[in-house]
Amino acid sequence: MPASIRLALMLLPAVVVLGGLFLGGLVLAIIRTVGIVPFAGRFDPTLEPWTRALQEPDLLLSILVTLWVAAASTLIATALGVGAALLLHRAGGGRLVTLLVQFNLTVPHVVTAVGMAWLLGQSGVLARLAHGAGAIDRPGDFPALVNDPWFVADIVAYVAKEVPFVAVVALAMLAAVGSAPAITARCLGATPLQAFRHVTWPLIRPGILAAATVVFAFVLGTYEVPAVLGPSHPKALPVLAYQMFTSNDIADRPAAIVVSLLMAAVGVVCLVAVRRLMRGISGLEVVR
């Protein structure tokens, strides 16, 4: 079998599946927002869904708050994940630690969200401990972390879920880089911090950025966590989109697709930005 045909056979199934399901779904979603539903034989071009979605009074606030949650979660999760990887790489704590870090990878987001609500709520476990310690009297004295306008519990839930992901990626990067560059730097008189900043970090940065992008995009598009932990107003974008999609007013549905497309657009912008960032980094091949 010629090599090119073999190559095509290896690639084709994945390309067809992703092209058909992912691109196909995306294209269908886009044309549906302008009044075209090929499978139902409907073709009445209109921009009404776009004006309807853009006139949604909470849209801008929802976008901002969703970006805030995604950015905060990504930054904290990345910092903690890299930190955990460095600690595990250098210090570590045995099999149990490993399993516990990985444990969170296996917990579905909806479970983490529910657990967070019961942990951080104003009558949750922490509030009860605070009451037991005499720090608060009534539940209302405990800081509002769940269903609060700053999405604190939301962010903590994402952090708890994504730290292991970032840590696993960072560990793989650290292993690939090895200890030699950092040790060399230390021998040349660098402090541990300097060695990390100027030697280790540039080497592991591409992988970490990639992981951070995945986390960011994931947080942007996740429904169940803000659905459980978010406030009644403002709503995270996926929650807003889903509520519009299941609204009793059928005209809201294409508008809901517009909202989720806007979300997707933010995701694409992030991908492009990070790819551009990564392209400018030499030393990528060292990692390979």
Partner: protein, 287 residues
């Protein structure tokens, strides 16, 4: 792609374990302990709730031990055992399909240069970066029309979207560290293609592919939005059933369902750790 490929956990479990064996400082150890508390803490109230009820503020410890949530969950009418089976079926099917389509593509991307490679890379990465809601809303109408919406096969197909990229990326990183010369040697020694696959390729790749399968399984297992939309609410997987009881305020039943929702993922994790450990042991004995 390159960065992703290199970044993904090439035998991450083994790495973590090896790292973990080293000596440590007190500060590092306590920082790690603190982090672990953060990671595991949300799961504690879930477990406690599953074995109590009427656990109201300000009680720190529940007053009663009550297993009725578990009785109710395992009763024939709760639908939970069926949902558990359904979830396993969906996650295994999605994993199987994603491996079937993804491993060859990962190999192609890791070992070959070809025109249009960049486009393929973008196509593979895009589902990780574009939130799936819009795609699911687009697919919904088609799936309805062809009778896939609200069915298990429809949900499995939808789950391929988020799982396939992970499989491709992990297997690309596995293949990029794979020496194809070994296959050539086996062939030149007279092995048939199937013998090469069975005795050379698979044993060498098993650990990495186990990680790929684990990722796919976990990604499918925790899907909520996609299942809700494409399943039209009629394919109640564990996360969906859990949400029903959460929105109904049944913390005891929700706690029990949440515990059940976590178990299969932990099993998958332990299983893949076993495969990794076996591979590492084999490596030690052969080298």
């Amino acid at each position: 792609m390159t960065a992703f490929g290199a970044a993904l956990p090439r035998r991450a479990g083994a790495l973590v374990r090896r790292a973990a064996a080293r000596p440590q400082g007190f500060a590092a150890r306590s920082a790690l302990a603190l982090l672990l508390v953060l990671l595991v803490a949300p799961f504690l109230p879930v477990v406690v709730w599953s074995v109590t009820r009427a656990w109201f503020y300000p009680a720190i410890v529940p007053q009663t031990l009550d297993l009725s949530a578990w009785t109710s969950v395992f009763s024939a009418t709760s639908g939970v055992p069926a949902a558990l089976g359904r979830s396993v079926l969906i996650a295994l099917s999605a994993t199987g399909l994603a491996m079937l389509f993804g491993v060859p593509a990962g190999r192609a991307l890791a070992l070959h240069r070809f025109p249009g490679r960049r486009l393929v890379e973008v196509l593979v990465l895009a589902p990780l970066v574009v939130p799936p809601l819009a795609v699911a809303m687009g697919l919904h109408a088609v799936f309805l029309k062809i009778g896939l919406a609200g069915t298990v096969p429809g949900v499995v197909l939808a789950h391929i979207i988020p799982t396939l990229p992970y499989v491709i990326l992990v297997s690309a990183s596995v293949f990029s560290a794979f020496d194809t010369g070994l296959e050539d040697q086996a062939r030149s020694l007279g092995a048939t293609p199937s013998q090469v696959l069975r005795h050379v390729t698979v044993p060498l790749l098993a650990p990495g592919l186990a990680v790929a399968a684990l990722f796919a399984f976990l990604v499918s297992w925790s899907q909520y939005g996609l299942t809700l939309l494409v399943g039209s609410g009629r394919v109640p997987t564990m996360p969906l059933i859990l949400m029903q009881f959460v929105t109904a305020g049944r913390q005891d039943v929700a706690g029990a369902i949440a515990v059940l929702t976590v178990l299969p993922g932990v099993l998958a994790l332990v299983l893949s750790a076993r495969i990794l450990a076996a591979a590492a042991a084999r490596e030690r004995t052969t080298s």
